[in-house]
Symmetry: C2
Subunit: 393 residues, 2 copies
């Protein structure tokens, strides 16, 4: 491999302690990068004066959550499934925001957590669910914290900030003896589609403005709005002003990934998660490496396909994490086969059968979810620790 | 919903026993369709005179494998990971073909299965791995069945049928006291990119011809080639002649999916696997349903994106399986949110919050892998059975 094609990744250690004892494919989590990512995000949010309620959907892991818990401004976790809520509650995390609209079929499981004394906050955005939830809580003689989701950018769910329904639901939640109206939350999903610090900062400002406008509308009606919560890693990292916001719920910042790097929300050398893989065959006629990380181990997420640089199913890094192989990516992904087509400046012999590579993921949340847990490394040394994930629903 | 928009799916029962007690999102497996798919494939292959070695990578499930074991011509399972091999071996399946190139890092686990008396067949396509494997087997005083992978269509791994390396490896395997040369295998991956019975049959013929040519080259050199094995559901289903082939390894036929329907390899009403989901919110301003099956529950596989009909992240069926909602698909998939944009001829009120839908998957292997197991139904009635999967590596 020609030297000019090698980009050194700062922070990577150059002796090769090797991860060769690990069965592949597997997730490798760099604890130093993880810690740096947590520290950076917590400090930024602290400087902006908002609490840190990281989203656990990316890592789904007690050990990662425990590290976040020690960071500045930590105010509890956000979760994306009730299974996560149950998992983290069992591990002692008692302040949990279930960040997906609660639906009637899930009332019973949510109620069980409330009955167990968990400070579980629920989210909704329709009057209908609000009424049904309050009836259910009344029947069970339980009281829940409830937030209303606001839509800042037409991306997904949530009420428009000026929708009169917002006031009606907030009034109902404030009046009921079975709920505490906890505030409003918004997620700037569209920020994933822009590029660079200025554009992300503009999205962050739109997200902030939508949240603050919604809160103001309610306060004008004498409704208390204790929490005004924003989401999204890019906006949390690049916001310049979060006046009026009380907490942020970034998720993917813990690991980062190529989609985040592709919009300029992180550097590639901040990505803490890779998939360790083995070269299992060569196909000389097609100048092709076959690796044992295919669509299942990497996920089929092609989030970089529409970005400036299409990273295929992931970019290739040396097994010690020290080198990014310029121009190499997983071009195709069958279920258990990944295919890397070698550009001209590489030879098959540089990647012997049995040798190890690491793949930077397009979308860390999706890639991580294909695995049971993380092999934890420090730089290029395996620590021997294995941290389990909580997958499923 | 206007009546003309409803396509009735034959075989679906019209009373609504309901799956409402199931927590969503979850995989729903229709046992009647599964059994019909198994029976159809086994009968076709029997009529063509080849053994049935179904690929377990789609289902990864003991109960499904057990049903396949009873079908005509069953000759053992194909597996895609050593974890599957260990899982099925522990359940009594003793004749297993590990259908992905074995690499040196996996010798120890494979050897453990051989030492336990499992009839495990390994696959390789390089002289280097062959030598290293034979050395390893010699050290362990074990004997393995080994096949050589042939490439019929440039799709993935394998030797060209006329590559002289083939003869060298086969000679080595035949001569060694530590291996039985079991034969050759081929997988016509390119058949997924064509359309219709005639085109698939042409791919099947190319696959057959490549396999037979490779076998003939070896036989001309006085090497016995006991097994000549082809893969792929489309080619196994639409092959018109399999002269010279001894076994077939179809996988996705058990469940089928929209990619298979999109190439004409099955009808939509043969798809046995769906994801049950709940409508968790409405966004009236965007005529949008929010469902609790997002990218994790459905997978991010967009295999239909390049087909005649792009099915988004899956087509929508009523919860009793009786109706395909014409023109409805999951348009976007965030991690735990699926978004369905309603075309003009539907109203939000037809899909109340809390109601259930089912999503036909683009790619059953990928969708199933996101879940721990299957909720088993017969038509529209839940049987109460839950069949576990073996995920991971």
């Amino acid at each position: 491999m020609p030297t000019q094609a090698i980009a050194q990744m700062p922070g990577a250690d150059h002796h090769h302690a090797g991860l060769n004892h690990l069965a592949t494919p597997c997730l490798v989590l760099d604890r130093q990068r993880l810690d740096a990512n947590i520290e950076d995000m917590a400090q930024r949010l602290a400087a902006l004066g908002v609490a840190f309620r990281p989203h656990a959907k990316t890592h789904k892991c007690i050990e990662v959550a425990t590290r976040m818990e020690k960071a500045a401004g930590f105010s509890g976790l956000t979760v994306s499934t009730l299974r996560e809520a149950e998992f983290f509650a069992a591990a002692g995390f008692r302040d949990l925001l279930y960040g997906v609209s609660i639906s009637p079929d899930k009332f019973a499981r949510a109620s069980a957590l409330l009955a167990a004394g968990i400070k579980l906050t629920l989210v909704l955005d329709t009057e209908e669910v609000c009424e049904r939830l309050l009836n259910c809580l009344a029947d069970a003689k339980l009281r829940a914290r409830v937030m209303i989701e606001i839509d800042a950018d037409g991306h997904r769910a949530g009420l428009e900030p000026d929708d009169p329904t917002l006031l009606r639901i907030a009034t109902q939640l404030t009046a009921s003896p079975y709920s505490d109206f906890a505030g409003i939350m918004v997620h700037a999903g569209e920020s994933y589609g822009c590029y660079g610090a200025d554009a992300i900062a503009a999205h962050a400002e739109r997200e902030r403005a939508a949240a603050v406008a919604a809160a103001q509308m309610l306060r004008d009606a004498d409704i208390e709005v204790p929490v005004v919560s924003i989401g999204s890693t890019p906006t949390a990292r690049f916001a310049r002003d979060l006046s009026g916001i009380t907490e942020a719920r970034p998720g993917v910042f813990a690991f980062y990934d190529l989609v985040m790097a592709g919009i300029g929300a992180c550097d590639r050398n901040e990505i803490a998660l890779t998939v360790l893989t083995t070269v299992i065959s060569h196909k000389p006629s097609h100048r092709r490496l076959i690796i044992d990380a295919g669509g299942l181990a990497l996920s089929k997420d092609r989030g970089t396909a529409t970005q400036r640089e299409d990273c295929g199913f992931g970019l290739i890094v040396s097994s010690d994490g020290a080198r990014v192989y310029e121009g190499l990516c997983v071009n195709r992904a069958n279920q258990e086969h990944g295919i890397i087509e070698l550009p001209k400046h590489y030879e098959l012999e540089e990647f012997p059968i049995g040798s190890r590579l690491r793949v930077l993921p397009n979308h860390a949340c999706m890639t991580a979810a294909a695995h049971d847990g993380y092999q934890v490394v420090e730089g290029c040394e395996a620590t021997g620790e294995y941290w389990q994930r909580c997958n499923g629903w």
